[in-house]
């Protein structure tokens, strides 16, 4: 993997949860990880909500900071540029959904291109606007055009949220494989909820990332999780 990993995809495809898990995995392996919250699209369930938790685990989160962090304004931190030019270790980009979100990425395209990168396309076939090949091809083309960068691999992330059943995964995984074929892209790795990742790892070709959900509605948070996120 390149130093810079960029996570793009359709709005609601699971980019943020996927990238959070990836960042924590890298940090757990002793890597220095910078996570750039470039999501200017969605107003809730953003990686900035778990900043404290991430910092505790050695993931440096780059967000607009201050009061603006709670706004829905398309603000990008000047620290992104600094991170791109001088940070050591991994740099992960959590990009906003669709071509709208990818537009923000386009501002850094030249610099990113010079340094080498891997851009990943998170794909969930259970989302209504990426449910068939034609839709997925359009989505990918739009994102590439807006970001002025090229996707090199797919992250297979078929799920129905917290209610995902094993059979949903077994039905969804081959759907993503078909889409990958149509896109002429490899599946770089597969994201599976931690409830089923051990069970399914043997059935899946290529690497698997177990996914724990961090950005949950309040009634689904596990005891203590809230306080881990924000001691205040």
């Amino acid at each position: 993997m390149a130093q810079i990993e960029i996570y793009t995809g359709h709005f609601g495809s699971g980019k943020t949860e996927v990238v959070l898990n990836r960042a924590l995995t890298y940090a757990g392996q002793g890597e220095t990880v910078h996570l750039v919250d470039l999501d200017i699209v969605k107003p809730y369930f953003r990686s900035r909500e778990v900043r404290y938790f991430l910092n505790q685990r050695g993931v440096y989160l780059i967000t607009p900071g201050g009061e603006l962090e709670n706004a829905d304004l398309p603000v990008i931190s000047p620290k992104v540029l600094g991170t791109l030019t001088s940070a050591e270790g991994k740099i992960l980009f959590d990009v906003g959904g669709d071509s709208m979100g990818a537009t923000a990425l386009g501002a850094f395209a030249q610099l990113i291109e010079r340094q080498g990168y891997e851009m990943l396309f998170v794909l969930n076939p259970y989302r209504p606007f990426t449910k068939d090949n034609a839709m997925v091809i359009n989505m990918l083309n739009d994102i590439e055009a807006a970001s002025r960068l090229k996707v090199s691999g797919i992250i297979s992330n078929p799920n129905l949220g917290r209610g995902t059943l094993l059979e949903d995964l077994r039905l969804g995984l081959p759907l993503v494989q078909e889409m990958a074929k149509a896109l002429e892209l490899p599946i770089s790795w597969t994201a599976i909820t931690e409830r089923y990742s051990d069970l399914l790892a043997a059935e899946i070709e290529g690497p698997v990332q177990a996914v724990r959900n961090y950005l949950l509605p309040p009634w689904e948070l596990e005891e203590g999780q809230v306080f881990q996120m924000d001691p205040k």
Partner: protein, 356 residues
């Protein structure tokens, strides 16, 4: 159709289309933007009209016009935007027109925050704009319920010729859940609207109006409206959760009800007989059902994302027979399950010192 994964706002948009809604007029505001965004894409595909107006005030008056000509029409906004729409809403109520209005509430007062809240309860259930009128107010708590309720919302609007409000909050709009839609093939039978302004060829002209210069006539109109609101009482909907033997009954709607439900389960695990009463219609308020759910309760506790609004209606509808307490967070802060559990424990054990 198989399940899909959707945001609450998107699911609501799709459900409106399935319910035969073909006209949407709105103006963007967080946290409900995915509704207009979704409908901007989908409505033209089904031959409908999506229009982003120049303001909320323009949008609600376009709803007024479309409803007057008999269309299935919807608008959506969030708290400050709904405040802007109040003039149009009272006109629509006065002229007795059917439409659906979605409010994905956010923190207030004023411009407030973009985070979730439930502090527009009074505005929703007590009228909101000027004059004596009521909205039918539905409060779903899951994305599936939001979808299932959409057809009902439009049907109720048609039946009573009255605006129906779907009162959600930012969490319900923004969160994602697996959801199933009713089959697309089901042909909709929409109510006849002989009162609509559809062109008066061969019949007497229809008039859509909320102006009554003659006070006698306007008072009669008010009595007529009031009788209609009384008739709505039969539409009450609610959910009881573990209330049968509950000594502490929680009351909450929408997202707060889901937090309260999780707290009830934790309380039960602590050996406390707790339950949840969830009003699904906020107007009409399910009074008899609330009284029934609370008849063995020593304490009632409302859980809200406000400074205390629903609590007033709960006290009133329980006729002050049971002590009713309030726990809430506001401004976009959300109650934690743990904090609600602590409140339950507090009231469950209150009075024990006196007995000892």
């Amino acid at each position: 159709m198989a399940k899909v994964l959707m945001k609450g706002n998107e699911a609501l948009g799709e459900a409106a289309i399935r319910a035969g809604c073909r006209y949407f007029f709105g103006y963007p505001i967080t946290p409900q933007n995915e509704i207009p965004q979704y409908l901007a894409k989908r409505l033209p595909e089904v031959g409908g009209v999506f229009l982003q107006a120049e303001s909320e005030i323009a949008a609600i008056n376009m709803v007024y016009g479309a409803a007057g000509s008999g269309a299935r029409v919807m608008t959506s906004s969030s708290s400050p935007g709904i405040s802007l729409k109040q003039e149009g809403i009272t006109y629509i109520a006065g002229a007795e027109l059917p439409c659906v209005i979605v409010n994905m509430q956010r923190g207030g007062p004023g411009l407030g925050s973009i985070q979730p809240a439930q502090s527009d309860y009074f505005q929703a259930v007590k009228g909101g704009g000027h004059g004596d009128y009521k909205l039918l107010v539905l409060a779903p708590a899951t994305i599936q319920e939001m979808v299932d309720m959409m057809g009902k919302a439009f049907d109720l609007a048609d039946e009573y010729r009255n605006p129906v409000m779907i009162l959600g909050d930012g969490i319900l709009g923004q969160m994602m859940e697996g959801v199933e839609f009713p089959a697309e093939e089901t042909a909709l039978t929409l109510a006849e609207k002989p009162w609509a302004t559809t062109g008066a060829k061969g019949r007497k002209p229809n008039l859509i109006n909320s102006l009554f210069l003659d006070p006698v006539e306007l008072e009669q109109h008010n009595h007529h409206l009031q009788r209609k609101y009384d008739r709505m009482a039969k539409e009450v909907l609610w959910e009881n959760y573990r209330t049968d033997d509950a000594e502490v009954v929680l009351v909450g709607y929408g997202s707060s009800a889901r937090i309260a439900k999780a707290a009830v389960d934790l309380a039960r695990a602590h050996g406390i007989k707790a339950g949840l009463f969830r009003p699904i219609t906020l107007f009409p308020f399910p009074k008899a059902a609330l009284q029934e759910a609370c008849k063995q309760a020593n304490h009632v506790l409302t859980v809200e994302m406000s400074m205390g609004q629903l609590v007033e209606d709960v006290r009133y509808n329980l006729e002050f027979k049971v002590p009713v307490h309030f726990y809430g967070r506001s401004g976009g802060m959300v109650p934690t399950t743990r904090a609600v559990l602590e409140e339950i424990i507090r009231w469950a054990h209150s009075g024990e010192e006196d007995k000892a």
